[in-house]
């Protein structure tokens, strides 16, 4: 039995990404499967996905087989409703937690200029995309929020470094601000 095919069978029946260590755990000691062998079998598996509807990806918590984006329109029809779109408030809150972690609710509110909707934070915590990673040494010891591995998995990222970098905002020279006093 080819190791790459065994790994395919394991990954096609796993309900979450599996790390190299976890994959190693599927083999009994007497099978004598070294980690390096698993690594090269994964490469072989990746190659064998050419021409298939699925591909091997590595995300934060490990490897998984997923369908390619090109098949999205057909696969989506399993579900009658379109996948729900996240609201702007949801995306902005999540984006701040992802790019600015660790961050407190108060800091999110300050940047967005509006109160944080408690149910958004709750949904993020429950989806396991966000977690409390500590408390800030301030009165009330507010919670500091950060993203989880599941968040990275969900967005096909290996680490936070893979988040797109944001355009640098221009520095400013206050005295150059035009003083247009319209109507004055």
């Amino acid at each position: 039995m080819k190791l790459a095919t065994i790994l395919q069978a394991i990954l096609l029946t796993a309900d979450k990404p599996l790390s190299l260590e976890q994959l190693e755990g599927y083999f009994a000691p007497e099978e004598h499967i070294a980690r390096s062998a698993i690594r090269s079998a994964l490469q072989e598996l990746q190659g064998s996905c050419d021409g298939q509807s699925f591909e091997l990806v590595e995300t934060a918590s490990g490897f998984r087989l997923q369908t390619r984006v090109a098949f999205q329109s057909w696969v989506q029809r399993h579900h009658e409703e379109k996948p729900s779109k996240y609201s702007r408030a949801f995306l902005e809150t999540l984006a701040l937690i992802a790019w600015r972690q660790p961050i407190t609710r108060a800091e999110i509110e300050e940047i967005r200029g509006v109160a944080v909707n408690a149910s958004i934070i709750k949904t993020l915590l429950e989806r396991d995309w966000v977690r409390v990673i500590g408390h800030k040494e301030l009165p009330g010891r507010p919670e500091m929020l950060g993203t989880t591995r599941q968040f990275l998995d969900y967005f096909n990222l290996k680490s936070l470094d893979d988040l797109p970098s944001l355009a640098e905002m221009k520095g400013l020279d206050v005295d150059q601000l035009p003083l247009v006093l319209a109507g004055a």
């Binding site: 096609l12 790019w99 940047i111 200029g113 967005f155 096909n156 006093l181």
Partner: protein
């Protein structure tokens, strides 16, 4: 420009799709009667609420006004934008919209900045940070946040762009240890959720209630998949008086909730039948 000190500019929500209305009843802004909606501020009154909802908050609105006129954040004509923003907030007030405090705060801040700019330069106290700088920074930060949110939304996402590829494997499962739960944990969870839902004060559920709820579950289970069952078959005499009363109350509760129907065949003293609501439809479909 209008006498109202109102320097309107075309304002439409980012999503667009708003109808243009020509004739409409008008409002009083700053004590001045406005007879016609400013030409380039075509927002039908009914749509104002929708318009407000299209923005995530005062920074979003401000950013929109700035972008709409193609200003770089770094050189916003503060006074100009301030007037526009304040006029806009005023207009919304005229239509009795519940303005979030955040919008009013922003209006106040803009007004403050503008008033400072009108003062001679040296009047600005040095130690205090220039409020313009603070506003710029806030706007820049918010714009970056918007950009980040946009980036996040375009990342390929599981269950939207990709799906987990899975093959079926009905192999006999090796016995799998299941997580253990204690009744205590369950109680605490219930207490928590109720505390959160603030229901303690409103609902006092007595002991009897649970046994009736349990019996409701039983009765519904008995009815499942059946077109109807005889009324008497729901009762078990060996349960005694209390059991019979509980069953009867459960049936009455289910009737009240329109979850079951009770019917009687023709004739006095004819047997009663209980059926789940919608059973007839289901039965016909099979």
């Amino acid at each position: 420009m209008m006498e109202t000190g109102f320097t309107p500019s075309p304002v439409l929500p980012p999503q667009g799709g708003m109808g243009v209305q020509t004739e409409m009843p008008f409002a009083v802004v700053r004590g001045e009667k406005i007879v016609a909606m400013p030409e380039d501020l075509y927002i039908p009154p009914d749509a104002l609420e929708v318009f407000l909802e299209a923005f995530e908050g005062p920074l979003d609105l401000l950013l929109y006004l700035i972008r709409r006129q193609n200003f770089d954040i770094c050189d916003i004509p503060i006074a100009h934008i301030t007037e526009q923003y304040v006029a806009y907030v005023e207009l919304m007030k005229e239509f009795n919209l519940d303005l979030a405090a955040e919008y009013l705060l922003m209006a106040a801040m803009l007004a403050e900045i503008k008033s400072r700019l009108l003062l001679p330069r040296q009047a600005m106290v040095d130690e205090e940070e220039d409020p313009r700088a603070q506003l710029m920074r806030q706007l820049q930060e918010y714009e970056q946040c918007k950009q980040a949110a946009g980036e996040l939304d375009t990342l390929p996402r599981l269950e939207r762009d990709h799906w987990l590829a899975q093959t079926a494997a009905d192999f006999p499962r090796l016995p799998r240890p299941q997580p253990q739960v204690s009744l205590q944990e369950l109680l605490l969870a219930f207490q928590d959720v109720l505390k959160r839902a603030d229901m303690f004060s409103h609902h006092q559920i007595r002991r009897e209630h649970l046994s009736i709820r349990e019996r409701m579950t039983h009765v519904l289970a008995l009815l499942q998949g059946k077109a109807f069952v005889p009324f008497e078959s729901l009762f078990r005499l060996e349960e005694g008086r209390r059991g019979v009363v509980v069953t009867l109350m459960a049936v009455l509760e289910l009737l009240k909730a329109h979850l079951i129907d009770v019917t009687q065949s023709e004739g006095a003293y004819a047997p009663l039948y209980v059926r789940p609501v919608g059973a007839v439809l289901e039965g016909a479909g099979i």
